[in-house]
Subunit: 424 residues, 2 copies
């Protein structure tokens, strides 16, 4: 593939092969720059898709008559169009940005209108998220959590190997990378006969997740076939499912996590499409026992996406790498998650978010949360001289993910958030 | 209070003292009747608030400049305005509809434009529901379910008396009364070493609930004080939290209900305001142990709302009364639910739905679901010659609620749904 006329440094996440979608607005938006709007990342720039659409450059058979999807303040309308439209948009944008295509390259006025330095824009939530579902699809995470909370005999619940367990999360408190997270207050386990404890959480944790963004939905009552499920997924983002372990432990029986999670969930701003991730697809783990027929897929595939977690402790200048994991640690695939989610007729809608659950690997340095890394606070995690059981006020947690191609990257950028003290 | 010039029969739920809000459109909407739009029920009629707003009749200090909230397709904008605006709207509408006020009574053209026979309109979901939360606030229900699933020793979880337990529900599959419900398919418990069962649910159930509709929300990170919590609640609807007990039982450990619920949740179309329900407020149950300070309210009140469940079995002409309960069976109040939901900083948004959980009373004929009425299918429920363990295809379930005032009713109308066979 040709390079772009926009400079893309070798370590940039945003090559011409990537082209992730987000919603941005220029920080100092003048009155004639309606904002927010859809954009695509290329190197250190954002290509304004509303400017490209207004210039009539989406001229393929589908988008010619529906490029108003790029004049919206969210990506929902574009997502609803489905994969043929997504492929057409990708081809159009790749051509427009390529070094040997003069249309944009040689049009200074259009370049000025449509290419914004990334440092001069603010990123917003990319979609209206109607519903947010969180799965529990890493076996290592399920095993470690189960061992911590219920002991090694009953570590993984008996249903776990038969269905991709999930619960509904809170959509209203999903925020974009860079948003501060206020430490939640809440109840914790009583000590003997006392009332429950109450106050700022003492066990603030991150959870390393990714999340799929739903494209076209399905009608209520009409399940999605597992072999067609990926047509309902537009792409992936990084997600930090912040967790207050003390609140969670006290509240979650019998109806599941609630306030231990709903104070904030952070996602990265750029949706990397499944089309861009296709070169990094790989075999998914062998499943024993065999899944039921509605979960048995003809192509059982995963994605090889290396993931990193960095913590920048309060008062320190440098972040410290604490976890290296990979999306391919997931036991249940995206398509199995979609097929399971809809088998009862539940309807998905464009822009819905499907979290993977914490992505832990088998090695001690591949665990996706402090609950596992410190074994529920029993061990100290050393961060280059500073140590932690759980997160302290001022700590910043930074996720990063990048697939390495042949002289190009398909990366996700960062998903970060800093813990602020609880309100008094 | 004066009567209305619109005839209200003595058994009508929709008196001049009620005036519940909904979203409707005329069934045979002509091109010049934009739809859907907000309306208020009065007797057998719907007052079109968009017509009243367009006629400039919302002339109070608040709504004079913001009556465009009635030109929307949902009630969210009106809900966001808060109680002062709601009280002003109620006063304006009560005056307009009263027998001794000529403005609407004597204006035939405006009456024609603004009053629609209820039989000629279709009701739609009243709000965009960003998030739907379901509580678990009836002690009798908690005790019965716990006894059935975990035995009498551990019937009520130890946390239940300290916090109003809740989980996030699925917003996308909330439907309006009258919508058919397709029997879901899914996995159930394996028998000994077999794989899990799979197929149409064999334990289809209803759950008698009510749900609060959120008015003004709160900012992320800013909890709502329990003594100000009712200012965030606009009103109540009836809700049927349809449940597939076999799917639920197999999937819900450890993360809570998911596919056993998310195939459909039915709400009644008319939101009865807390202002209309105020004459029916009553003391809430004494709470032992004392709730923590953030849940201790200066006015611990409930509402006396008699509830009924009727089942019309497939092939029968008449519905049969199976349950008489009351909203005042709830142990945790609406204000405690709101205070708890937000104590961690979680943000509520206008139009959000807060289900009460199944409202069972202490008597055998006051149980709010078949799980309790038939003790998980052990006993047969007799419906006037027909009998049921759980719901069968073609069965219709109808909830009704009506507060009896002095010569007037404040009622909720019906919340109904019929079970259709699973897709093959």
């Amino acid at each position: 593939m040709a390079n772009s006329f926009v400079q893309v440094s070798p370590d940039s996440h945003f090559s011409l092969q990537n082209l992730p979608y987000g919603i941005f607005h220029p920080r100092d938006a003048a009155a004639d720059q309606p904002s927010p709007r859809p954009g695509v990342a290329i190197g250190d720039y954002v290509l304004d898709l509303s400017a490209i659409a207004s210039a009539g450059l989406f001229d393929g058979p589908i988008l010619k008559s529906s490029s108003e999807c790029f004049l919206q303040t969210t990506l929902n309308a574009f997502l609803q169009l489905g994969r043929p439209a997504w492929k057409e948009a990708r081809a159009t944008i790749q051509k427009l940005l390529s070094a040997d295509e003069p249309t944009l390259r040689d049009n200074a006025s259009l370049r000025k209108k449509s290419l914004f330095p990334m440092s001069e824009v603010e990123m917003l939530l990319p979609t209206v998220i109607g519903d947010y579902t969180d799965f529990f699809s890493s076996m290592h995470h399920a095993k470690n959590c189960g061992t911590i909370f219920r002991g090694p005999e009953n570590a993984i619940p008996v249903n776990w190997f038969h269905l991709p367990i999930a619960y509904h999360g809170r959509a209203s408190s999903i925020v974009i990378s860079g948003t501060d997270i206020i430490r939640p207050r809440g109840q914790g386990y009583p000590i003997s006969d006392s009332p429950p404890s109450f106050g700022p959480s003492k066990k603030m944790d991150f959870e390393l997740e990714m999340a799929a963004i739903v494209g076209p939905g399905n009608e209520l009552g009409k399940p999605v076939n597992v072999n067609e499920a990926l047509d309902h997924i537009f792409g992936l983002v990084l997600m930090n499912d912040w967790s207050a372990r003390d609140i969670q432990a006290w509240e979650y029986v019998p109806l599941g996590p609630f306030l231990g999670k709903s104070f904030g969930t952070t996602i990265s701003p750029w949706i990397v499409t499944l089309d861009a991730l296709e070169p990094f697809s790989c075999d998914a783990p062998n499943q024993v026992p065999n899944p039921l027929p509605y979960l048995a897929e003809s192509k059982h595939k995963n994605y090889d996406i290396p993931l990193q977690v960095w913590i920048k402790p309060a008062g320190q200048n440098d972040p410290f790498l604490v976890t290296k994991s990979n999306f391919n640690n997931l036991y249940w695939t995206l398509s199995q998650q979609v097929a399971h989610h809809t088998i009862n007729g539940c309807n998905l809608r464009p822009g819905d978010l499907l979290g993977t659950g914490t992505i832990s690997g088998p090695e001690p340095d591949s665990l996706g949360c402090l609950l596992e890394l410190t074994w529920n606070g029993k061990n100290l995690l050393d961060l280059n001289g500073v140590s932690r059981h759980f997160l302290e006020d001022g700590d910043e947690v930074i996720f990063s993910a990048c697939c390495k191609g042949n002289n190009y990257n398909v990366g996700f950028g960062k998903c970060s958030g800093k813990i602020l003290p609880a309100h008094p």
